[in-house]
Symmetry: C2
Subunit: 224 residues, 2 copies
DNA sequence: CTTGTTTTAAGTGTCGACAATTTAGCCCTT
DNA sequence: AAGGGCTAAATTGTCGACACTTAAAACAAG
């Protein structure tokens, strides 16, 4: 995933993005230890750069560090997933409400165009949709809230962890078309400036999504 | 403010806490530039330590940095205050709801004892209450939610910024007794395990608090 | 005097080395 | 053989120096 606003300037930026990607995608496995010296050789940068990257990853809740001991990639747990989606429900619900209030008409129009594009992909059974499409949808709603704190908490903080759960627990199943309909309805509520409904639908959408993941976990024990 | 869980281990910890305190209390004024070399001499640590501290302050949204240029303390603005309290309303509302669901009986009992203590202070006109007491109250509700993400976002992330606004805009006025009553009612709702009411009262409490600050700002132009 | 360019200095980004702490292995004691 | 304390290796925390970028000062041309 690449966000328009995330252009690496310094080496630390690049390393941070790379590390984050490798953690989210499981190239560096969940729960494993992050050795600074090891990483510095692997990514061809100094330890200072690695340390800064790790510090930033801590802010994202992707790694945890104990002083004088070291950093570990977070472990994926059922309770952690539940807590994460609880917060998401509240925050993205609020984002949808704010978007219904503050999103400029032009941005809503663009969002509707995006939805049409998604429709084509869903129709043709494009698996692309599940991952990037969903992210893109939520991403735009969040930005539409126009609340800097909210944007930062969700985009910089929680979203990569959400993706980590989704990628590593193999979310590819078919909630695609039903999720698409939910997206569509949320956009409609925002276009109608119906704050109440936008929040309600978004909260429900995320709740469904959570139930979907948890059911999948109950069926295939996975490694949790 | 000192939180039980925040015991400085490394030099970077100490420096981070000190810097944060100085920023929140206005010793380092809002909007001012943070020179790494200057700070490193002032706080008697190396630039690496200062850099780590600044990075952590960025996570708290207390400073902003531009690559190759430097870091500045955030500016206090009316819109920023509004956005902050909007997010607070959603998150602390959720915290109150979760606390009503998950807070252990023993913790609720302690909270009620704390409220009695606060009552004594309010009765005797203790100005201590306004600051530390309020923080302490909210702090406990947040911890009572038992949601790690929520706790981290609020305590590590937003709370110090909230305090910064309150301290620097001179919140000493009398919302003390009425705020106390609101606190009391929230605790009661939590004790009754009334999730709905706990969230509602907390949201309203924060909304009142926000109105109070904004009114105060309208009366005394301040420097915003 | 103004504008655009070059130079220069101040400040950040990065690095390798050293100091302090933790952990694991070894030895000694019981 | 089991447990505790000591030693040594590995890892993190901290430091000062160097490289690079940016912004301001000095300068030249119009």
């Amino acid at each position: 995933m690449e966000l328009a606003s995330e252009k690496p300037i310094t080496n630390a930026d690049r390393t941070f993005y790379q590390l984050r990607k490798d953690i989210v995608e499981g190239v560096i496995e969940a729960g494993s230890k992050l050795s600074e010296t090891e990483l510095s050789t692997k990514y061809s940068v100094s330890r200072a750069v690695i340390r800064e990257a790790i510090n930033r990853l801590m802010s994202c809740h992707l790694v945890e560090r104990k002083a004088n001991v070291g950093a570990r990639v977070v472990a994926l747990t059922l309770s952690g997933l539940a807590e994460l989606y609880q917060v998401r429900e509240a925050l993205e619900g609020m984002a949808a409400r704010q978007a219904a209030r503050s999103m400029p008409e032009a941005e809503i129009a663009e969002l509707q165009i995006l939805m049409n594009d998604h429709f084509e992909r869903v129709k043709s059974g494009d698996t692309y949709y599940q991952e990037a499409g969903d992210v893109d949808f939520h991403y735009r709603i969040i930005l539409g809230s126009k609340n800097q704190h909210l944007i930062s908490i969700l985009i910089d903080g929680l979203y990569h962890l959400v993706r980590m759960y989704r990628v590593q627990l193999g979310m590819a199943g078919p909630r695609v078309t039903t999720a698409y309909d939910e997206h569509r309805n949320i956009v409609q509520a925002i276009a109608n400036r119906d704050e109440e409904l936008a929040e309600l639908l978004m909260r429900r959408h995320i709740l469904y999504s959570r139930n979907n993941i948890e059911n999948k976990l109950r069926l295939s024990p996975s490694t949790l």
